[in-house]
């Protein structure tokens, strides 16, 4: 069994392409996370506008992208856009699909965070003459982020795991490379190695998150 799942020769051969895949996984994550956070921040700030014409489309947008499975969104863009004459390629489709999806999740988290800051904070800041945007930037947002840091980190963990979906549209991230190697060698070792790499990459974050979540739940 060791030879099937942990074949040393295959490991040695597949290692370089797996590493390249890991690089792409990290590159993709490093692109999507800041984009998603920025998008989420915009959504959270828009949510403060009382106008019906803003709130309802906003809620519809957020619920839509939370209801829509990310893989379907990805396939949609990847298979559908060429028919509309737009050629985006694997990376582009993945980036846009994930930006839309994670932006909605980050938006909800940040919105809850902003709501959790007592209104007295903004009142005090405004009473000293700080403008609305200064109050948000220096007083409310720092506290909001602090309050929802576990959720933000948890969502970031999800984003990194989501990159594995890129393998479905032939984006050469880690899982794709592993499956290529597996189909070439008829041996599942590359996938096992890829799993180990994912684990090594993400386990520290999982442990940290577990500790934070427990603390947050106990405080509440």
């Amino acid at each position: 069994m060791l030879d099937t799942f942990f074949n040393v020769e295959i490991m040695r051969a597949a290692w370089p392409i797996l590493l390249a895949g890991l690089g792409n996984t990290l590159l993709l994550s490093a692109t999507v996370v800041p984009l998603g956070l920025a998008g989420g921040l915009i959504l959270a700030l828009l949510a403060r506008i009382r106008s019906r014409w803003v709130r309802w489309p906003l809620i519809a947008w957020v619920d839509f992208f939370r209801a829509f499975p990310p893989l379907v969104l990805l396939i949609f863009l990847y298979a559908g856009l060429p028919f509309a004459g737009i050629e985006l390629g694997g990376f582009g489709c993945v980036a846009i699909a994930f930006f839309l999806n994670t932006g909605a999740y980050y938006g909800e988290i940040l919105r809850a965070g902003i709501d959790s800051v007592p209104s007295g904070q903004a009142e005090a800041a405004r009473s000293t003459g700080l403008s609305r945007s200064q109050t948000m930037a220096y007083v409310v947002l720092p506290q909001a982020v602090r309050n929802v840091l576990p959720d933000l980190m948890s969502n970031t963990l999800e984003v990194v795991k989501l990159t594995a979906l890129g393998s479905v549209v032939a984006m050469p991230e880690l899982l794709f490379q592993a499956r290529q190697a597996q189909s070439l060698t008829y041996n599942p070792t590359p996938i096992v190695v890829a799993a180990l790499i994912y684990f090594a990459l993400l386990w520290p974050l999982v442990r940290l998150l577990s500790r934070l979540e427990n603390r947050a739940l106990r405080a509440g």
Binding site: V72, F83, I191, G220
Partner: protein, 226 residues
């Protein structure tokens, strides 16, 4: 044809839609079956593990925590692929459906265990002490006093996590499960037309928007005060 007509003909082609909508419908049935199975088995096993964890058997707990960490760290698609392509090497050949179900249920089990455990430990010690001091056994205290209170705390995070995982049923299409995306993808390749994708997208929305809205309602109703 005008640009608009060409757009409709490409993405909303009546002939293609008429031909493939039954397949999409079948796909919806499979998606729902898969989702329901995953939710029931995932939550039940997660709760079971959390309850077992309260027994305090150290080696068991360490193993449990390790397994849960692995399941939380790996992308679900990797687990599906491991099961579907890996197990045949030891003469276990799961179908795509079973592989997807097992993978998603395991992931939900791991997250659910963590959430249930956090809920149980968040119930103040005083509750345990009060119940035990009136003569209730460990089991009675756990099930009658602590768990009901723990559940209240766990519902918001559990709801959102469960919804996120059930959307993973779409991953089944990667291992030839004929759920919605799988059906839509084959229809697209067979007809050289993306209309089935629009139908598939609509099918997902029909299924999941009510779920997300209900989830939103549940979360606000059970939101705990900070």
């Amino acid at each position: 044809m005008t640009g608009w007509e060409r757009f409709l003909d490409t993405f909303f082609n009546a002939r293609v839609l008429a031909k493939y909508w039954p397949d999409i419908l079948l796909g919806m049935v499979v998606t729902v079956e898969l989702a329901v199975l995953v939710v029931i088995t995932g939550l039940a096993s997660g709760l079971m593990l959390a309850l077992l964890r309260t027994l305090g058997v150290r080696p068991f707990n360490w193993l449990l925590i390790f397994v849960v960490d692995v399941l939380r760290a790996l992308p679900p698609l990797v687990i599906i692929v491991l099961i579907y392509f890996g197990l045949p090497s030891v003469n276990i050949v799961p179908s795509g459906f079973v592989a997807t179900w097992a993978a998603l249920a395991l992931v939900l089990m791991a997250f659910a265990e963590e959430i249930f455990w956090a809920g149980i430990t968040a119930v103040p010690r005083g509750q345990w002490e009060a119940a035990r001091s009136t003569g209730l056994s460990f089991g009675q205290t756990l099930l009658g006093v602590v768990l009901p209170q723990a559940l209240r705390l766990t519902i918001p995070p559990l709801t959102s996590r469960t919804i996120a995982i059930t959307k993973g049923t779409a991953l089944g299409s990667v291992v030839a499960v004929s759920e919605i995306l799988g059906q839509a993808s084959s229809a697209v390749s067979n007809s050289y037309n993306p209309s089935p994708l629009m139908l598939g997208a609509a099918a997902y929305l029909v299924l999941f928007i009510p779920v997300v809205v209900a989830g939103r309602w549940v979360e606000t109703r059970f939101a705990w005060k900070r």
